[in-house]
Amino acid sequence: MERHFDENLQALKYHLMKMSAMAEVMIADAIKAVVERNEAVIPGVYQREEQVNHMQVEIDETCLKLIALHQPAAGDLRFILGAAKANAELERLADESINIVQRAQSLLKEPPLKPFEIIPEMAMIARGMVRDSLHAFVNRNVDLAREVLLRDDRLDDLKEDIAQELTEYMTRDSASVARALNLLLVSRYLERIGDHATNISEVTIFVVEGRDVRHHADQKSEFRI
Amino acid sequence: MRIPPKYTQALAVTVLGAATVFTVVVLVFIIVFVLSKGLPGINGEFLFSAPKDMGRAGGIFPTLVGTVLLPLMAIAIALPLGVGTAVYLTEYTRETRLTQVLRFGTDCLAGIPSILFGLFGFIFFVVMLKMGWCLLSGGLTLAIMVLPTIIRTSEEAIRAVPNSYREVSFSLGATRWETVLKVVLPNALPGIVTGVMLGIGRSIGETAAVIFTAGSALRMPASAFDSVRTMSVHFYILAREGISNEKAYATAAVLIISVLLVNLAAYSMMHRFIARRSR
């Protein structure tokens, strides 16, 4: 029996996927603005941000309605709570793209500091994490979610590398400080995008297995969110 | 061609109404007929004096007494036996082949013509047990006759008591007997009373079985071993032997009125009982 309620859950998944695709494009474009110095993509990022905000409100309303009207339990309850959390993370990681674009705008006013190596790689990883964490969420794929958690470490390492490199630039040449700081911030935003994706993956594990893996909470509680 | 529902509805109302009117008219006609013929002959003297000259003159007091005593005796014997049997069959046994055979047997018994009971009573009580024609022989015979009715109606009444009442009682720690006493019988009472009324009605109106077992003596009975004549027997003899049509109708009228009174009394008692329990 295909249930009406299940159709609503399917719709919820679909909207989350759409939102994550949107966020992914935003990250790609924001990085394009930084790396390729492409100014043309910037208005699109702002536009998408508004759309994402809109979708966030809609998804929250859907979650609220499903909880109020259907009083879900067990797996369904965890899924809807998870969806609401993933929704918030997606919105925040979309916001990070806006932050990146803002840095890009001030970077574009000056010549490039150095050829890009690490930031494109970080962007690749972050985008992949966003895509895969959402895939894992909607497809209840715990293995993929765990794998995303591991990728976050690589992102953190890269951020350390670039911080070190940029610190060298700044100590050597005071004229580079402004640009280096901007780039440092971009790396920090990418790292945060990774963190949001990590959170989504943790939510996925909770939704599927009912275990909270945040802060090693699984030793304390089996079923607390 | 189909008749429109509007007309079938009207036709139905007419036919059903006519059937009801016909039934009521027949009933009323019989009662009015008997009462109009009989009432003029009824007065204090008729009711409370002894008959004279085989009933051609005088009253019907001894038959009145017989009519009260005989069914009373029959019910006094049949009620505990019948209700007891019904309780046992419904509450204490599970439905088996035996209970089915028993039920079938009682149903058959209820349908047997009363003359057969009369013959049996005559042979068994009057002749074999040498009790002679007397109140007791008649009472016992009538008791056997009305027993199936009382068993059956009581059984139905007991069965109609919601099982949930029993469960509640058991779940509050009552034994089966406590449950029967406090819950089952009080709630089955209206049905049991109906059975008893049917039994009384049947024994008041009975003639064949009574003539064979209680006799037809026109005296006041002094003990259970005296022969008695009931009103219906009296009426039967008066009418059949052409003794006095006038007295026969008067007797019939008294008979109808007493049946009416007995019924009224029983129902008012029952209603008072129910009202007291469901205030």
Binding site: M1, H4, F5, K65, A68, L69, H70, Q71 | R2
Partner: protein
Amino acid sequence: MSTDPVISVSALDLYYGEFHALKQVPMEVKGRHITALIGPSGCGKSTLLRTLNRMNDLITGVRVSGSILLEGRDIYAPGTDVCLLRKRVGMVFQRPNPFPLSIYDNVAFGLRVAGLRDGHAVEEIVERSLKAAWLWDQLKDKLNQSALELPLDQQQRLCVARLLAVEPEVILMDEPCSALDPIATARIEELMLDLKAKYTIVIVTHNMQQAARISDYSGYMLLGEMIEFGATAGIFTSPKDKRTQDYVSGRYG
């Protein structure tokens, strides 16, 4: 089209003898939607439901004033054909009540009453109705079996099929799931969601969650009054009246 109210109740008062059971009740039933009536026992929701096909006529001492328009025509106007009204506005009761007949004869009952003699046509309609009530696949091989032998939820769906056979426009349901277990309840609810594509449904339920799950519009009634009526999502997420708020959030008394 479908958003026009099929039934429009306004200022409806109903008395049982001296008792004022419905007080100036308004209600708009939208076509091809599910409208749910909720409220505590004795609030008048069943009474309101039963005015919609004049089932209350069967009770002596009932007086009704105000208006109930079915597609614009007052169903309490003199000269209204009550039998026709009840064909257009069918009813499903609290306890499944199939006739002690075969499954087939139960569904064909209304058709035969209506005078349909063509065996072929009857067969077709029986099949269509059973399909619409999601019973055809399970029952097609035992149409001659007694309806009383079916499990309760199938009996209830059979009652729905029996109703669908006479092609009503509106289906009234008076706590159709209160005798059923959750699984059976879910089946009936899914059936209702399916049926609303073709029919207008008004349901009375004790079960608030049920109203929340399936209805598009809800009315909360209390002591014969319509306290709040509106879109279900609104009633259950942000009710306007404090009393509605208390009731749907389980704070009563």
